[in-house]
């Protein structure tokens, strides 16, 4: 079995690095996208088993919007094939942004929220919980 693929969508290269290293050390294959635009363009080709998604990118809620499209209930939606692909959303705890989100099954079908700064151990634990082990590592 091939290693499981994780798509990391974040516009901050340093953050992508900090997320990539622990996941790779846990045996996942990590593919980076430097924003939602790139994520949308490449996800079908990458076919990830797990998506790690930042919230504030092109817009203050670009990540949420992408997650919403990925998990759309409409079977004919553009990203319908990823409807069941789990997403880890990276959220900044304690922001003064007026927009505050919490996992809400009706509104946002996202599996897990992980608060920044990201604890690498927690990230690995979450990934294992969501998509199982590190593939064939």
């Amino acid at each position: 079995m091939n290693p499981k693929r994780v798509l990391v969508v974040d516009d901050d290269a340093d953050m992508r690095l900090a997320v990539r290293l622990p996941l790779e050390s846990a045996g996942y294959t990590v593919i980076e996208a430097a924003g939602v635009t790139e994520g949308r363009a490449t996800i079908k080709q990458i076919q990830p088993e797990l998506i790690v998604l930042d919230v504030m990118m092109e817009t203050a809620t670009a990540g949420f919007q992408f997650a919403l499209d990925l998990h759309s209930a409409d079977p004919k939606a553009e990203f319908a094939e990823f409807r069941h692909t789990p997403i880890i959303m990276l959220t900044a705890i304690h922001t003064t942004t007026p927009l505050r989100f919490a996992p809400d099954a009706d509104y946002l079908p996202v599996q897990v929220f992980l608060e920044k700064p990201v604890d690498p151990e927690k990230l690995i634990a979450l990934a294992r919980q969501l998509v199982g082990g590190e593939g064939d590592a």
């Binding site: 340093d14 900044a92 003064t96 007026p98």
Partner: protein, 463 residues
């Protein structure tokens, strides 16, 4: 909450003046009802009670005419008010009333003895009213015309060109042919009229000046309010932007440091690990400082508007924070107690969930931080009439007397607190005070009897 802006001043001033003139015209009409009834009553009184003989017919006619033309003016005034007519229309209406009043007054004087009539004094009222309604020049013209009308009456009667109409039985000796008396009355009447206009105009001018100053003041206040609002908006936007810009690099740095310290970028020696931990601690502190500062700034920027307050259950908010400190307290060997009457009705306060969280997080974290192992932190919720009171009492290090007055100062930290915990922003209590003040509550810190600190927060209950 937004501060309602006053409408543009130029329009305001006009409508104010118009409203005032319209009100004055109404007032004049109400006065005239009394004057008309007064003339009729006085005429009756002269004959029936005082047993004097006056030309009752003409006097009743004057009283009746007063009431009649007042009715016409009353109708006109109503119509102008309904049509929200411009000030000019009211001014013309006032002018017409004044002219008819002058005529009525002159006739009244003529039929009550001419120069001998005590009703002459009543002309002064009319002159005062004219001074109130019209600019000084017009008022002077009215005063002079009153003098002219009286003089004409007196002179015509003196030369018997107009019949003298005395109130028989009022004077023993008729005075209307007494030259010096007639001249003296006319002189004093004319001068009194002019002086009255002068005095009234002076007072009026001073009032108008005040009024202009007030209008100018309110105009500048309006501008200042607008500027403040714009400033407030800019500040809010700035705070939001800075929030993101400042926090992002710190958050990323913390994540990178954790990845590095976790050995995910290669093995780390013990010394490297120690240095990474030190760096992590400093950056964690920086994050806390930024969070606190921005909280404070955001709170102040949101003071006027934006903060959407709604009824929040207090007990649940406090409990959430207590749960957060359960593990740290246990690890430190502290008893963290939560006391609330189980049958207590759900107390809600008008605020935000985040604000309550910040409020109690700061207070409970302080209590846990500054209470040594083996101690106790007790959080109590109670209702006091229409307030909720939360008390956080610890058995910790207490507060030196000299530090008490400075506790809520920004960046202030008590010396014994610094000794226990080197790092601290000194902003926690400032944030607490800021939130509580915004929501109309209060916070007090005192040394608990024995040892430790007791913090009391009161918040008004949501209606």
């Amino acid at each position: 909450m937004t501060v309602p802006l006053p409408p543009p001043i130029s329009g305001e001033r006009r409508t104010l003046l118009e409203a005032e003139l319209a009100a004055s015209v109404g007032w004049l009409i109400r006065l005239r009802w009394m004057a008309g009834v007064g003339v009729l009553a006085a005429t009756w009184l002269i004959g029936a009670a005082l047993h004097l003989r006056a030309p009752a017919g003409p006097l009743y006619l004057i009283g009746g005419s007063l009431l009649l033309y007042n009715f016409i003016f009353h109708t006109a005034e109503r119509r102008l008010t309904r049509a929200a007519a411009p000030a000019r229309a009211f001014s013309r209406l006032a002018m017409g009333q004044m002219a008819l009043d002058w005529l009525a007054m002159t006739l009244l004087i003529h039929f009550s003895g001419g120069i001998e009539s005590p009703a002459i004094l009543y002309f002064i009222f009319h002159i005062v009213i004219a001074s109130i309604f019209f600019p000084p020049r017009t008022a002077f013209a009215f005063a002079l015309s009153a003098a002219a009308l009286l003089s004409a009456t007196a002179v015509l009667e003196y030369y018997a060109l107009l019949p003298h109409e005395p109130v028989v039985g009022f004077l023993d000796q008729p005075l209307y042919r007494n030259g010096p008396y007639v001249a003296a009355v006319l002189f004093f009447f004319a001068s009194t009229g002019l002086i009255v206009v002068y005095l009234a105009a002076s007072i009026h001018a001073r009032l108008r000046r005040r009024e202009a100053e007030i209008v100018a003041l309110s105009e500048s206040l309006h501008v200042a309010t607008q500027q403040l609002q714009a400033l407030d908006e800019t500040k809010s936007l700035f705070v939001r932007r800075v929030t993101h810009e400042l926090r992002s690099p710190v958050t990323v740095t913390r994540t990178l440091l954790r990845t590095l310290a976790g050995g995910f970028a290669g093995a780390v020696s013990a010394q490297q690990q120690d240095m990474l931990n030190r760096a992590s601690r400093r950056v964690d502190f920086l994050q806390k400082l930024i969070d606190d500062l921005l909280d404070l700034a955001a709170g102040k920027a949101d003071l006027n508007a934006r903060e959407q307050r709604s009824p929040v259950p207090l007990a649940a908010a406090v409990e959430k924070v207590i749960k957060r400190f359960d593990v740290p307290a246990r690890e430190k060997g502290l008893a963290l107690e939560w006391r609330t009457a189980p049958d207590e009705p759900v107390l809600t306060v008008l605020g935000t969930a985040e604000g309550l969280d910040r409020l109690f997080d700061n207070l409970i974290s302080n209590a846990v931080k500054y209470t040594p192992s083996g101690g106790r932190v007790t959080v109590t919720l109670a209702q006091l009439e229409n307030e909720a009171r939360v008390t956080i009492e610890d058995t910790g290090i207490g507060i030196p007397a000299e530090a008490l007055p400075h506790l809520f100062d920004e960046f202030y930290r008590a010396p014994n607190a610094k000794a226990v915990e080197n790092e601290g922003t000194g902003l926690g209590l400032t944030i607490v005070k800021d939130i509580v003040a915004r929501w109309g509550g209060g916070v007090g810190v005192e040394n608990a009897p024995g040892a430790g600190v007791r913090v009391t927060v009161t918040l008004p209950l949501a209606a």
